[in-house]
C-alpha cells in the first residue's frame, strides 16, 4: 500500500466534481511531491476548496482518481480512514470542539483513533502547544481564545496525529488582521521543517516566503501554475492577470 520513492505524495488525475448542474471541478490533474508547499489561489467558486476537500474525501469526486501516499482514495471506508490518518486539515472557521478544553481538543483523536494513552497524548499535546506558542491556554475552552489562538490550536490538533500532509483551507480568512501573522508564522515554521502542504489562501507573504509552487484555478480548472515569482510577477493568462490585479491592489 505504501508509496514508492518515485511516486508523488498526492496524485490527482482527471478529477471532476459536480454540485447538481454546477461543475465545481473539471478534469483537474495535479501532483504534489513530498515536502512541497503548494498554494492554490483563485476567485471564489473556482473549485480550490473543493479540490482540497477531495484530497481527504470530505467531498467525493464524480470522476477521476486521487492517490494519497500510495493509497487510492475511493469509497472504501478503510481506505478513507487510512488516508485521513495521514492528512491533517485546517479549516477557515477553526472547527475546534467547543465543549472540550484546548488540551482535550488536541488529545481526543489521539486517544480514540491512534489509541494513545492519556499520558502519552497529553505529553504530545503539551509539546505542540509549546510549538504553536500557547501552552498557557491549555485548560481554557476555545470560546475563551482569540481567533488566532484558536487557529493555532487547530493546527496543533492536526499535527498531533503526525500527518504526512497538511491541508489548509483559507486558514487566515476568518481572522482579524493583527492575528494573521501569528498563524502564518506557525505555518512558515511547518514548511521549513519539510511538511508537505497544500494551502488555499491569498496570503502573498506566505506565498513569497514558503510556497514552492502556486496554482491558479478558475471555473473548476487549473489555468496556470509555476513558481510564486513567475505567477505573481509575470502571469501568462488574462484571467490570472485580472484576478491578481484585483487582490494585489
Amino acid at each position: 500500500m505504501s508509496r514508492s520513492a518515485s511516486q508523488p505524495m498526492i496524485l490527482i488525475e482527471n478529477v471532476s466534481k459536480y454540485f447538481g448542474a454546477f461543475r465545481a471541478l473539471d478534469q483537474v490533474n495535479l501532483s504534489v511531491e513530498a515536502g512541497e508547499v503548494l498554494m492554490i489561489i483563485g476567485p471564489s467558486g473556482s473549485g480550490k476548496s473543493t479540490l482540497l476537500r477531495c484530497i481527504n474525501h470530505l467531498e467525493v469526486p464524480d470522476a477521476g482518481r486521487i492517490v494519497v501516499d500510495g493509497i487510492t482514495v475511493n469509497n472504501n471506508e478503510a481506505h478513507i480512514n487510512a488516508v485521513r490518518a495521514e492528512v491533517g486539515m485546517v479549516f477557515q472557521r477553526f472547527e475546534l470542539f467547543p465543549h472540550l478544553t484546548v488540551l482535550e481538543n488536541i488529545c481526543l483523536a489521539q486517544q480514540k483513533v491512534r489509541r494513545r494513552s492519556r499520558r502519552e497524548s497529553e505529553q504530545i499535546a503539551w509539546q505542540l502547544l509549546e510549538k504553536v506558542g500557547i501552552p498557557d491556554q491549555a485548560h481554557k475552552h476555545p470560546g475563551q481564545l482569540s481567533g488566532g489562538q484558536q487557529q493555532r490550536v487547530a493546527i496543533a490538533r492536526s499535527l498531533a496525529m503526525q500527518p504526512k500532509i497538511m491541508l489548509f483551507d483559507e486558514p487566515t480568512s476568518a481572522l482579524d488582521p493583527e492575528m494573521i501573522k501569528e498563524v502564518l508564522d506557525v505555518m512558515l515554521a511547518l514548511a521549513a521543517e519539510g511538511m508537505t502542504m497544500v494551502v488555499v489562501s491569498h496570503e502573498m507573504g506566505f506565498a513569497r516566503n514558503a510556497a514552492n509552487r502556486v496554482v491558479f484555478m478558475d471555473q473548476g480548472r487549473i489555468i496556470e501554475q509555476g513558481a510564486p515569482e513567475a505567477i505573481f510577477g509575470a502571469p501568462q493568462h488574462e484571467r490570472t492577470k485580472l484576478f491578481l490585479s484585483r487582490i494585489l491592489h
Binding site: 472557521r93 472547527e95 491512534r114 475552552h141
Partner: protein, 266 residues
C-alpha cells in the same frame, strides 16, 4: 455642569424603580398567593385536610411513573433521534414512520391502544396471559413509547443545530462516524437541548395524569375515586389542581436554577 448633574441624578432612581416594577415577577406572587390561600384552608379546614391527605397517597405513584417514564423515554428518544438523522435510508425511514405515527394520534387514544391492544398482543405472542403486565407497567410503557417520539424530535433538532464543520473536523482527524457522533456531536447537541428536555419533563408530569384512565392510582385517579363517593367536587379538584401547580412550579424553578449554573460553568 454641576447644576446639570443635580438635575439628572434625581430622575434616575425613578426610572430604575419603574423598570424594576415592570421586571418584577408578579405572576409568581399571584400564583404563590393562590397556593398559600389553598394551603391555609388545608391546614385549618378538616374537610380540605382529609382530601389533601387522600390525594397525597397518589403523589408517590405520580412521581414514580413520571421519573421512570422520562428516563426510559430519553433512551428511546435518543435511539430514534439518531435513527432520524441516519444516512442509512432504511433506518431513517423506520424512525420517521414511528415518530410520525405516534405524533399523529392523540395521547389519550394511544394510551388506550398501547395498554389494551398492543401490550396484550405482545404478551400473547410470548405465550403470556393478557393480565401478565400490571396496569402501572402498561402506563409506563405507553408514556415511554409516546414521549420517545417527541423527545426524538428534540434530539434531532439538537444534532442538526451543530454545524457540519464539526463532523468534518472530527472525520478529518480520522474518527469514524460513530466516534464523531459520540465524542463531538452528541455532547454539544445534548447541552443545547437541555431546556427543551426540561420542558418535556414538566409535560410528562402533567400527562402522567392521563394514565388515570387505566385505573393506575396516581393522584388524579385517587381524586376521582374519592369524588365518586364523597361528591366534594370543588374541594377535591381544586386541591388536585394545587398539587400539579406546585409540582410544576417547583420543577420549573429547579430547572432554571440548573440551567443558570450550567451557563455559569460555560
Amino acid at each position: 455642569m454641576a447644576i446639570e448633574h443635580d438635575q439628572i441624578i434625581p430622575s434616575r432612581p425613578t426610572v430604575t424603580w419603574r423598570t424594576g416594577l415592570a421586571q418584577f415577577p408578579w405572576w409568581l406572587v399571584i400564583i404563590l398567593t393562590i397556593i398559600i390561600i389553598m394551603v391555609l384552608r388545608i391546614i385549618f379546614d378538616p374537610i380540605h385536610r382529609d382530601i389533601f391527605i387522600t390525594i397525597l397517597q397518589g403523589l408517590g405513584l405520580t412521581l414514580y411513573v413520571t421519573v421512570v417514564s422520562f428516563v426510559l423515554s430519553l433512551v428511546l428518544g435518543l435511539v430514534l433521534g439518531l435513527g432520524r438523522v441516519a444516512k442509512n435510508p432504511i433506518l431513517r425511514n423506520l424512525a420517521i414512520t414511528y415518530i410520525e405515527f405516534i405524533r399523529g394520534v392523540p395521547m389519550l387514544v394511544l394510551i388506550f391502544t398501547i395498554s389494551f391492544a398492543v401490550v396484550p398482543l405482545v404478551a400473547r405472542t410470548f405465550g403470556l396471559p393478557n393480565n401478565a403486565v400490571s396496569l402501572t407497567t402498561r402506563a409506563i410503557i405507553a408514556l415511554v413509547l409516546i414521549y420517545g417520539a417527541y423527545i426524538a424530535e428534540i434530539f434531532r433538532a439538537g444534532i442538526e443545530s451543530i454545524g457540519r464543520g464539526q463532523m468534518e473536523a472530527a472525520r478529518s482527524l480520522g474518527m469514524s462516524h460513530v466516534q464523531a457522533m459520540r465524542y463531538v456531536i452528541l455532547p454539544q447537541a445534548v447541552r443545547n437541548v437541555l431546556p427543551a428536555l426540561g420542558n418535556d419533563l414538566i409535560a410528562m408530569l402533567k400527562d402522567s395524569s392521563l394514565v388515570s384512565v387505566l385505573g393506575v392510582r396516581e393522584m388524579t385517579q385517587v381524586a376521582r375515586l374519592s369524588v365518586s363517593t364523597s361528591f366534594r367536587y370543588e374541594e377535591t379538584y381544586f386541591i388536585l389542581t394545587l398539587f400539579y401547580l406546585s409540582l410544576t412550579l417547583v420543577l420549573s424553578l429547579l430547572l432554571q436554577l440548573l440551567q443558570r449554573r450550567m451557563r455559569a460553568k460555560g
